[in-house]
């Protein structure tokens, strides 16, 4: 999804979270899945927040992640 909808993004794995940067804005809260993230519902919620915060085109994101349509 990021490759198609957020071209030029970078992602860095930190000790506790992934940091995703797009258009000079960084989302610091994407779980690495090791601490506290308890399943797909949590991860898709985080992806929704990431999309909102980084102002990624939602229609594009929905094409790649159909679960966002629900």
């Amino acid at each position: 999804m990021l490759q198609e909808c957020a071209r030029g993004y970078t992602i860095k794995r930190k000790k506790h979270r992934y940091w995703v940067t797009y258009k000079a804005t960084t989302f610091r809260g994407l779980s690495t899945g090791e601490h506290g993230s308890k399943g797909a519902d949590v991860q898709i919620g985080l992806v929704r927040s990431l999309i909102r915060y980084l102002e990624i085109d939602l229609d594009c994101a929905k094409k790649h992640l159909p679960i966002l349509k629900s």
Binding site: K14, K15, H16, R17, W19, T25, T26, F27, R28, G29, S31, H35, G36, D41, V42, G45, L46, S49, L50, R52, Y53, E55
Partner: protein, 158 residues
């Protein structure tokens, strides 16, 4: 889906490369109750973390941990206190604009009485929504007992 506008105060002691810092954060967040999944809390300012849980207390615990995790990641990379302080201030400067729009709309619902603090929990506290988001980052050179402050609970912005 119902949105609840929240104010939070989190205080963390963060150990970094050669320093110990005290971070006192007053932030804004938006809670949403989604059936049947449970509760979701999304940060508004700072705007780039979120967490969920089956119940509000569970979501609150995960949200609190997510905030601290960001601070710990910043501390991992910061070469000194000044670098840590600058990065935390940058973190706090970010606002999730769509979430802020929903936060303001939710405050209006609180003020109209359509949402109440009791919808979240019995005796859930409220605080004026005008309380601005702020962050204070202090270098703890000489730790003192008066730096120990019990953390307030989350409050509903009203």
């Amino acid at each position: 889906m119902t949105h609840y506008p929240l104010l939070f105060t989190f205080r963390d002691k963060v150990s970094g490369n050669g320093f110990l810092a005290d971070v006192l954060a007053h932030g804004h967040a938006l809670a949403s109750k989604e059936e049947p999944e449970g509760w979701w809390i999304e940060s508004v300012t700072p705007g780039d973390f979120a967490a969920g849980g089956a119940t509000f207390p569970e979501a609150h615990i995960e949200f609190r941990k997510a905030f601290t995790a960001v601070l710990f990641d910043i501390a991992e990379d910061a070469v000194d206190f000044e670098a840590f302080k600058a990065e935390v201030e940058e973190f706090f400067a970010g606002t999730n604009q769509p979430a802020q729009d929903e936060w303001k709309a939710a405050v209006a619902l609180v003020r109209s009485g359509r949402i109440t603090a009791q919808d979240i929990a019995e005796s859930f506290p409220t605080k004026p929504a005008e309380s601005p988001p702020t962050v204070e980052i202090r270098l703890l050179e000489v730790p003192k007992p008066n730096y120990n402050v019990l953390e307030p609970v989350m409050e509903l912005a009203a």
